[in-house]
Amino acid sequence: MLLREVEYAKPGSVAEALELLAANDGARALAGGQTLINVMKARAASPDMLVDLNGLAELRGIELAGDGTLTIGAMTTYTELMRSAEAKARPILGEVCATIADVQVRNRGTIGGNVCSNDPTNHLPPLMVAVGATMTVLGAGGERDVAAEDFFLGVYMTAVGPGELLTRIAIPAGKKDGFAAVTLGAEGTCICNAAATVNGSVRVALGCVDAVPVVIHADSPEGVADAVRAAAIDPPSDVHASADYRLHLAAVLATRAAKEAAAR
């Protein structure tokens, strides 16, 4: 398929990438491209310039600190996360990445691209919220840390503003996590998903039921379904699922994820 004409820039540093993004209104960062190239085919997005972040070593890599905190470069691919010995410090990360699309997509798609596109059907936004991730955003004004709960602002919108980049994601140590999803086909479009973390009480982040992940708290996995029903969620209806069915799935999947988390 023929894309609309577009300029292409391959910066040699993050600083240069930021300059290109800030200097060109129609510029857009190109991460793995497994979403962006496709929406450009459909012309749902038509950037004037692509600023290719592939090749920026500063944005790659996974580090494990002494306190168990994982720091993951935004351009780290799903495959790298699945294979990383360090990332095993929070096993749910690799496990969820392994359920995204297929080998080819996982080889190119990145954690940063997934969260920055903030498609409500993506798996990583609710997961980042559940595990209490901190996103580091860099722009001309300097660097700032944004809690995952405050990072997702709306459908396809995040705290990363014009001329800014997500550079890395920090995830605290922890093992008691769970994830459950209903998708079209084994790894297709998501209808509803839930990521849970147990740390004394249960914290669940639901995806696909609102523009941004919805956080639910409960004392135990048994109380999660009622907490979901009490949360006044108003999920959208679409060709794949009615609002009622999505709400039903939300309670079921939140409970499943919470039970998995508690059993670890």
Partner: protein
């Protein structure tokens, strides 16, 4: 933009529009029509190739992104007209009917076997998840890969 790639051992230098997808560069500019366009939406996997040893769908990369890369396509699998063991196994197991998905299947299975020479049936299925076949029902393809697994 100037792009230089090495495909199956041959280096090509071309002037390429940034909007051109890698699959179209291979097929239209380099006349390497072994890799197919099935869906053009990143779902079917018929355009799967190896870029610097990594399996990708070449309809979801721009040609300019491959500048400097070493690319392997289905045309590069056989040597001196000799099929690889995997290709021979596809033949023997009737792992294709119309053949449209076959280039992508072969590249995905090649990537799997390089990474994991003794995959289980489950690992074979997962490795081929990004490749759609509408003729075979997949079983003969799994059998063909299994037969060359160590």
């Amino acid at each position: 933009m100037d792009v230089s790639v090495t495909v199956n051992g041959t280096t090509y230098a071309r002037d390429v529009e940034p909007r051109k997808l890698l699959i179209h560069f291979l097929r239209d500019d380099l006349d390497l029509t072994g890799s197919h366009v099935g869906c053009d939406t990143g779902n079917c996997g018929a355009c799967s190739i190896l870029v610097d040893g990594t399996l990708v769908k070449s309809c979801m990369l721009l040609a300019v992104q491959a500048d400097g890369a070493k690319i392997e396509t289905v045309e590069g699998l056989s040597e001196n007209g000799e099929l690889t063991a995997l290709q021979q196994s596809f033949n023997e197991h009737h792992a294709l009917q119309c053949g449209y998905c076959t280039p992508g299947m072969l590249m995905s299975a090649t990537a799997l076997l390089r990474d994991n020479p003794s995959p289980s049936e489950d690992e074979i299925k997962k490795a081929l998840q990004g490749n759609i076949c509408r003729c075979t029902g997949y079983w003969n393809i799994f059998d063909a890969v299994k037969a060359v697994a160590k």
